[in-house]
Symmetry: C2
Subunit: 109 residues, 2 copies
């Protein structure tokens, strides 16, 4: 994962509605949710939600499939894992995350 992709992903998650949407999709699992469902559950106007979903999609964090009239969105776990891997690799090493700050008794991260 290149730094530019990481920035896109971080930027996509760095917004209230979008983080909420993503968390909802993660909780929901790979079956996903229709755009309308998400809008209703989170109380976000359709056009606003559409904007946010496209941001998440461009960042590669969610995938989209059509099912009848609905577009079903679901979290892309592979991307999220790649993001976590990058952060663990590049933002937690170098005598941080391992020894400092958190004692890390077992498998804390």
């Amino acid at each position: 994962m290149k730094q530019q992709d990481v920035i896109a992903a971080l930027g996509a998650l760095a917004q209230d509605s979008r983080l909420e949407v993503f968390r909802l999709l993660v909780r929901t699992g790979k079956e996903g949710l229709a755009a309308g469902d998400i809008a209703q559950r989170l109380g976000i106007p359709a056009s606003s939600l559409s904007f946010h979903l496209s941001q998440l999609h461009e960042a590669g964090l969610v995938s989209q499939r059509r099912e009848g009239r609905s577009l079903i969105y679901s979290a892309d776990y592979a991307s999220m894992n790649a993001l976590m891997a990058f952060l663990t690799e590049n933002c937690c090493e170098g005598e941080g995350c391992e020894a400092t700050a958190a004692p890390r008794t077992a498998g804390a991260c």
Copy 2:
């Protein structure tokens, strides 16, 4: 860590110069680097860097201490760990991260 803090942290990292700065500080370790050093190493004008450092600082990702005339910045590993913990908890569970997508042979995170 509250969702608002997470958003602040993600937003702080979601920018080229800032992610670069943060990675540099993580690599450097807790002794940290003076603002001027960072500016020189990354080729960022002092005033721009100052802006970015304050964003990182507000987000709690870096800490600041004065040493003579210089301000030394260093990565706050505890905050980063808290961020990782939130993401692992809220954005990787629910049959993702564990089983799906990445096979996770061992401790891939």
